[in-house]
Symmetry: C2
Subunit: 110 residues, 2 copies
């Protein structure tokens, strides 16, 4: 049975939206940085060497899509990947591209 029959047009758009949020390198870095543990905005900005304003901008999108959860601790706001499915998927994909390096060397197939 085909996969498309299992979801409707709205679900496709919803899924595409998730991918879209993760499709920007900067945004993906932000997600990855907050994959394992909650991190404050300032720390993300410093780690990735980009402005806090830009980080906040992306965080806003990620938060709206429920990809990241926000938690206030004093005057800092910590962000972390909230959905375990997403976290699991991301971890798999990271392994995929990491292993892909080795595979590429074994089978260059130009």
């Amino acid at each position: 049975m085909g996969v498309r029959e299992r979801i409707g047009e709205d679900q496709v758009v919803e899924l595409a939206e998730m991918f879209r949020l993760m499709s920007d390198p900067t945004r993906l870095r932000i997600i990855l940085a907050s994959l394992d543990a909650p991190v404050p905005v300032g720390e993300v900005a410093e780690k990735l060497n980009i402005s806090a304003s830009l980080v906040s901008h992306h965080l806003r999108l990620l938060r709206a899509a429920r990809l990241l959860q926000a938690e206030r601790r004093g005057r800092q706001v910590f962000y972390v990947v909230g959905d375990s499915h997403i976290r699991s998927m991301l971890t798999d994909m990271v392994d995929h591209v990491a292993e892909g390096e080795a595979e590429a060397e074994a089978a260059p197939g130009g």
Copy 2:
């Protein structure tokens, strides 16, 4: 151990590129349509009710990124998802959004 330490900047960009390809609803529909079995371009266009030209354009991108494999049979070209990791991930995500519908009804929270 953090996940970001396991991959470099190049891998992040590579991963983001994959997500980018899957982030467009039309393109995602095309991928989903060729997820289980090879399908010719014309059939994809007809199923999705879009022009063959547009399908071909997207197919070119998907093919270049190794997300889809092309196979010529006579005067038709069949496309199918080539990587099992990607196929598995896609199936999971489809289930995720499909189940998400039910969860949303149970816990609207928002």
